[in-house]
C-alpha cells in the first residue's frame, strides 16, 4: 500500500500500542452480522410507527383529521404536533455551545402550523405492522393551504419573498447559529435571513493596492446528503412510571436524551438512551427526528414502538448540508504573496435556521497567513430540508471557492501551486482572519510532503488530462467526555466510554488506555455505555473522539495505574513512590526482586483490598487543528463531459495516528465523499420544491467502479495539546477534494468550473460556452 508516514519529530516517543494496527475490538461482530444497529431491535409486543410527510414545500396546515386512520384495524395510535408541548422560541444552550432553538427542533420533528418543506413530518401512526402503519398514513386527512415556496437563498433574500417564519429576526452574532424569534411585543416582520455577520482584519484598501494581480469569482454549490447507508430508526418504551427507554443509533446518546427531553418536556433523568451500533452518520445523526415520536406513541399505547425511515424519507426528511452562493476576491503580488482577500458566503439553512455558515467562514482561509481580509456570512432559510452537520460542516464549499481562486492566482503569476501555497502558509503564531492564533500545525510539512510525493512528480501524459491540488483546513472540536474502566481478575480491563463509534474509535480509545497500562490493545475491552451507565459525553463530532475520549481513557488509565501502584506498595509494604509501572510490569525502583506483571497483580486485587475501577471525566482544551493537501489526476471526456479520477493522493497532518489503518480509512472515506460532492451529488428539486432524485439510483454516490485506490500520506506533527499528540483526523479530508478536482479539470480542459457538482452536463456546458467564447473572440 502506498502509505508513507512522514515524521517531523526527530526524537520520536516510543509507544508500544499507539501507532500499531491491532484488529478492532468490535470487528468480529461486524463481519458476522451479529452487531446490532438501530433497526435490528425487536421487542415483545412491539408496534411499528410510520410518519406522514408533507407533499408540499410550503403550506399552512389548516386541519388534520385522524379518525379514518384510527378506525383501521391494527392501528393503535396517531399523533400530530398538537400532542407535543410547544416549547418557546428562545434559544437554549444544551451544554458546550450546543445551542438549540427548542421550538425549531420540535417543529422539525412534527410540523406545527405550517409545513416548511416537502417531506416535513406532519403526523405519525403506530400499528401492528409496518404495512398497516403505511396503509393508515393514507387515511390521515390533512387540509393544506398551499403557499408559494422559496427554493434558493438569493430568492429568499429578495424584497417581498415568501417568509418562512413570521417572527424570525436577523441575528448578527456569528456564534448563535440556530436563530431566534422576536419577542411578542416586537411588531417588526420576519426575515428569511437568520443571521448575518462579518469578520474583518487589517486594511483591505491597502492590501488590494499592493496586489499585482486580483482574481474575483462567484461560486454556487448544491445541497448534498451525508449518505449514511443505515436509515434512521428509533425504538422507545414508555414505562408506566414515566421512565422512557430509547434504543437508537446516533452520534450522541446524550444529545438524543437531552433533545428528546426538551421536545417531550420531561426531565432528562427520566430518559435512558441505549446507543446501538451506528451505520454511518457524518454529522447527520446529531439531531432527533424519530426518537420523541416513538416515545410519545409508546406512551399512548403502552407498548414499545419502533419507527424507521425509508431511504426516500432519509433524503426528504433529514439533513443534507447547505447549498451555497459564494463570492471571493483575492489579490497577490508578483512574487506570490497574498495581500488581501474578501469573501461573501450565503448558506442555505433549509427550513430552519442553522446552516454551518460560521465554521465555513472560520475555515475558508485557514491554511493561509493573510494580513488583510474580510469575510461576510449569511444564514438563510428556504423551503427545503432542515440542514444538518456534514463532515467539516461548512468548510468544503468555502474551501472549494478559496482554493479555486488561489489556483487561478498561482496560474496567472506563473508560480507552482504548491510553492504559491508555501509562500502564504499559516504557521504556529499565525493569526486567522477570524481571530484565533495557530498553535503548532503541520501545514508546511504537509505541503512539503506533497511536493516530494511521487504522484506530484510523475508525468501525466495524454489528451484531456490534468492534475490539480488543493488544501483544506478544519479546526477540530473537543467537549466533555467520560470513561470508566474496571480491572478484571484475569488482567484485562473493561472500558466503558460515552462516544458512539462511527468508524473504529473504540480501538483508538482503548489503545490509549493500553499504552498507559503497558498491556496489549486486545486486553482492553471497550464498549459504549448508555446514558445511565457512563458520565455525560458530548456528541461524536468535530473529529473529537480520539482526542477527547482518548484523553478520558488516558486519564482513567492513569487512575488505575495510581491505584495499582498503591496496592503494590501495600502488598510489598513499601512506599508507593518506590513503585513504577514499566511496559506492564510493576517493579521496585531499587529492589529488582520485587516485581508483578499487570496480570499477576490483577489476580490479587480482590484479596488485597478489593476491586480497582478507574474513572475520568474531562473537558480537554488543546485541540490541534487539521490540515490536508490533496492531489488529483483526472481525464475529462470532451464528448460526454464525464470526469474520471485517474489517481488520487491525500496527505494530512494527523498529529499522531493512534491506529494508522483507521486514520487512513477516515482520509480515504472523506476524500471519496468529496469526490462524490465534486462530480455527481446534488439535490434536484422541481419548481414546487419536490426532491426528484430521492433514491440511491438517482442520487448517485460513488461506487467502487468510479474510483481508483486512494493513496494516503500520514504526516505526523504531534499536537502539543494531547498526551500522545492526537489531532482529530476524520473531517478535514472532505475539505480539499472539490477544489483539487476543479483545479485538475481546469488543467485538463482550460475551463474553470465554478458550480458544483461538476457533472457531465455541467462540464459539457462549460466546455461549449468556452468554445463559443473563443469563437466569438
Amino acid at each position: 500500500m502506498a502509505v508513507t508516514t512522514v515524521s517531523t519529530v526527530e526524537e520520536k516517543p516510543k509507544y508500544k500500542v499507539v501507532g500499531t494496527r491491532p484488529i478492532r475490538h468490535d470487528g468480529l461482530e461486524k463481519v458476522t452480522g451479529q452487531a446490532r444497529y438501530s433497526a435490528d431491535i425487536n421487542l415483545p409486543g412491539m408496534l411499528h410507527g410510520k410518519v406522514l410527510r408533507s407533499p408540499h414545500a410550503h403550506a399552512v396546515i389548516k386541519s388534520i383529521d385522524t379518525s379514518r386512520a384510527l378506525a383501521l384495524p391494527g392501528v393503535e395510535a396517531v399523533m400530530t404536533s398538537a400532542d407535543l408541548p410547544q416549547p418557546s422560541g428562545r434559544v437554549a444552550d444544551l451544554g458546550e455551545g450546543a445551542m438549540m432553538n427548542p421550538k425549531f427542533l420540535s417543529n422539525n420533528t412534527l410540523a406545527s402550523g405550517k409545513a416548511l418543506y416537502k417531506g416535513h413530518a406532519v403526523a405519525a401512526v403506530a400499528a401492528v405492522s409496518q404495512h398497516v402503519a403505511e396503509e393508515a398514513l393514507s387515511l390521515i386527512d390533512v387540509e393544506y393551504e398551499v403557499l408559494p415556496p422559496v427554493l434558493n437563498a438569493l430568492d429568499a433574500m429578495k424584497e417581498g419573498a415568501p417568509i418562512l417564519h413570521e417572527r424570525l429576526f436577523t441575528a448578527d452574532n456569528p456564534f448563535v447559529r440556530p436563530g431566534g424569534l422576536r419577542d411578542d411585543a416586537d411588531p417588526e416582520g420576519g426575515s428569511n435571513v437568520a443571521s448575518r455577520f462579518v469578520f474583518e482584519m487589517g486594511d483591505l484598501e491597502k492590501g488590494f493596492a499592493e496586489a499585482d494581480v486580483v482574481v474575483e469569482r462567484e461560486f454556487r454549490t448544491k445541497a448534498v446528503h451525508q449518505g449514511y447507508i443505515e436509515p434512521h430508526s428509533a425504538t422507545a418504551m414508555w414505562n408506566r412510571d414515566g421512565h422512557v427507554t430509547i434504543w437508537c443509533s446516533s452520534q450522541g446518546q446524550f444529545a438524543m436524551r437531552d433533545q428528546s427531553a426538551l421536545i417531550l418536556d420531561i426531565p432528562l433523568s427520566q430518559i435512558k438512551v441505549i446507543p446501538l451500533e451506528i451505520g454511518g452518520g457524518f454529522g447527520g445523526k446529531t439531531l432527533v427526528y424519530l426518537e420523541p415520536v416513538a416515545a410519545w406513541l409508546s406512551k399512548k399505547t403502552g407498548r414499545p414502538v419502533k419507527v424507521s425511515m425509508s431511504r426516500q424519507e432519509v433524503f426528504e426528511g433529514t439533513g443534507p448540508t447547505s447549498g451555497s452562493f459564494m463570492k471571493v476576491k483575492m489579490g497577490a503580488t508578483k512574487d506570490g504573496r497574498i495581500t488581501a482577500t474578501t469573501a461573501s458566503l450565503i448558506y442555505e439553512a433549509g427550513a430552519f435556521p442553522g446552516s454551518p455558515i460560521n465554521p465555513g467562514v472560520q475555515c475558508m482561509f485557514g491554511p493561509y497567513d493573510i494580513a488583510n481580509g474580510r469575510v461576510e456570512g449569511y444564514d438563510v432559510v428556504i423551503n427545503t430540508q432542515k440542514t444538518a452537520a456534514y463532515r467539516a460542516p461548512g468548510a468544503p464549499a468555502a474551501a472549494y471557492a478559496a482554493e479555486s481562486v488561489i489556483d487561478e492566482l498561482a496560474e496567472k503569476l506563473n508560480i507552482d501551486p504548491i510553492d504559491f501555497r508555501v509562500r502564504n502558509v499559516a504557521k504556529e503564531g499565525t493569526r486567522r482572519l477570524t481571530g484565533p492564533v495557530f498553535p503548532k500545525i503541520g501545514h508546511l510539512e504537509t505541503l512539503e510532503a506533497a511536493k516530494n510525493h511521487p504522484h506530484w512528480n510523475a508525468p501525466l501524459e495524454g489528451p484531456n488530462r490534468g492534475r490539480g491540488i488543493a488544501a483544506g483546513f478544519w479546526f477540530n472540536g473537543s467537549g466533555p467526555s467520560s470513561a470508566t474502566a474496571s480491572v478484571s481478575q484475569d488482567g484485562t480491563v473493561i472500558l466503558v466510554e460515552g462516544s458512539p463509534d462511527i468508524g473504529g474509535t473504540r480501538a483508538a480509545v482503548a489503545m490509549q488506555m493500553a499504552e498507559v497500562l503497558g498491556i496489549p490493545a486486545e486486553d482492553v475491552h471497550p464498549s459504549v455505555g448508555d446514558t445511565d451507565s457512563i458520565g455525560f459525553t458530548s456528541t461524536t463530532g468535530g473529529s473529537s473522539v480520539a482526542f477527547k475520549t482518548g484523553w478520558a481513557s488516558y486519564e482513567a488509565a492513569q487512575d488505575i495505574k495510581g491505584q495499582m501502584i498503591e496496592r503494590v506498595a501495600y502488598i510489598w509494604d513499601v512506599s508507593a513512590e518506590d513503585v513504577e509501572l514499566t511496559h506492564g510490569v510493576f517493579h521496585h525502583k531499587s529492589d529488582p526482586e520485587l516485581r508483578f506483571t499487570f496480570k499477576e497483580l490483577a489476580g490479587l486485587l480482590l484479596e488485597t483490598g478489593g476491586p480497582i475501577v478507574g474513572r475520568a471525566a474531562v473537558n480537554p482544551e488543546g485541540v490541534g487543528s487539521a490540515i490536508a493537501v490533496h492531489i488529483a489526476d483526472v481525464e475529462v471526456d470532451p464528448e460526454t463531459g464525464k470526469t474520471e479520477v485517474l489517481r488520487y493522493t491525500a496527505l494530512q497532518d494527523v498529529g499522531k495516528a493512534v491506529h494508522p489503518s483507521y486514520v487512513e480509512g477516515q482520509i480515504q472515506g472523506g476524500a471519496v465523499q468529496g469526490i462524490g460532492w465534486a462530480l455527481n451529488e446534488e439535490y434536484f428539486f422541481d419548481e414546487e420544491g419536490r426532491m426528484t432524485n430521492s433514491s440511491f439510483l438517482d442520487y448517485r454516490m460513488p461506487t467502487s467502479l468510479d474510483l481508483p485506490m486512494i493513496d494516503t500520506v500520514l504526516v505526523e506533527v504531534p499536537n502539543p495539546g494531547h498526551p500522545f499528540g492526537v489531532r482529530g483526523v476524520g473531517e478535514v479530508p472532505i475539505v480539499p477534494p472539490m477544489a483539487a478536482i476543479a483545479n485538475a479539470i481546469k488543467a485538463a480542459t482550460g475551463v474553470r468550473m465554478t458550480n458544483l457538482p461538476m457533472s457531465p452536463g455541467e462540464v459539457l456546458k462549460s466546455l461549449w460556452d468556452d468554445e463559443e467564447g473563443k469563437n466569438a473572440g
Binding site: 463481519v31 425487536n42 443505515e230 451500533e277 454511518g280 468508524g503 473504529g504 467502487s704
Partner: protein, 164 residues
C-alpha cells in the same frame, strides 16, 4: 392483514419452515420473521446491496425478492458465512485490512465477495471493482475493501491448492 403463506426453504444449510405474507420481501422475512438481522436494509429498492444474499448460487438483493419465492431455494446469508470453528477468509481479510468503518454495509460486501471469489478466487482489482459496484459503502472509499477481497482471493486460492 393478508393471510400468511407457508414456505419451506433452506437457509445456511438448515431446512426452515416459515409463515409470511405474500407482500413481504425476502429481506423482511429474514429480518422480521426469522429475526436474522445480519442482512441489512439500506434502501429497500435494490440500489445499495446492504441486503445481499446468495440464492441458489446467485447474488441477489433480498429486498427485490419476495419471501414466498424462497420456496425450495438454498439461501446463504451473512450468518452462514463463517465456519463453526472460525471466520471465513473474507471475514478475516476484512478485519486485517480494516475494510470496515461503521460496518452497516459490511455483511452485504462480504456476501457479495463470497459469491465472486467462490467462482473466481483470482479476480483482479478491475473485476472486483466491477463486481462490487452494486454495493454502496459511504465510509471507506472502497480502497481497503478492494484490498481485503484481493487478499481473501489469494488465501482461498492457496487453500484450494493445498486441498487438491
Amino acid at each position: 392483514m393478508s393471510k400468511k403463506i407457508h414456505v419451506q426453504t433452506n437457509i445456511n444449510g438448515s431446512d426452515i419452515d416459515l409463515l409470511c405474507e405474500s407482500r413481504q420481501s425476502l429481506l423482511e422475512v429474514l429480518r422480521d420473521v426469522l429475526n436474522m438481522t445480519g442482512t441489512k436494509e439500506g434502501c429497500n429498492d435494490g440500489n445499495c446491496g446492504a441486503c445481499s444474499v446468495i440464492v441458489d448460487g446467485r447474488l441477489i438483493d433480498s429486498c427485490l425478492m419476495l419471501g414466498v419465492e424462497a420456496e425450495g431455494k438454498q439461501i446463504t446469508t451473512i450468518e452462514g458465512v463463517a465456519y463453526t470453528d472460525g471466520l471465513h477468509p473474507i471475514q478475516q481479510a476484512f478485519l486485517e485490512n480494516a475494510a470496515l468503518q461503521c460496518g452497516i454495509c459490511t455483511p452485504g460486501f462480504i456476501v457479495a465477495a463470497k459469491a465472486l471469489l467462490e467462482e473466481e478466487p483470482e479476480a483482479d482489482e478491475a473485476r472486483i471493482r466491477h463486481w462490487l459496484a452494486g454495493n454502496l459503502c459511504r465510509c471507506t472509499g472502497y480502497d481497503k475493501i478492494v484490498r481485503a477481497v484481493l487478499d481473501a482471493g489469494k488465501t482461498m486460492t492457496a487453500q484450494s491448492k493445498s486441498e487438491s
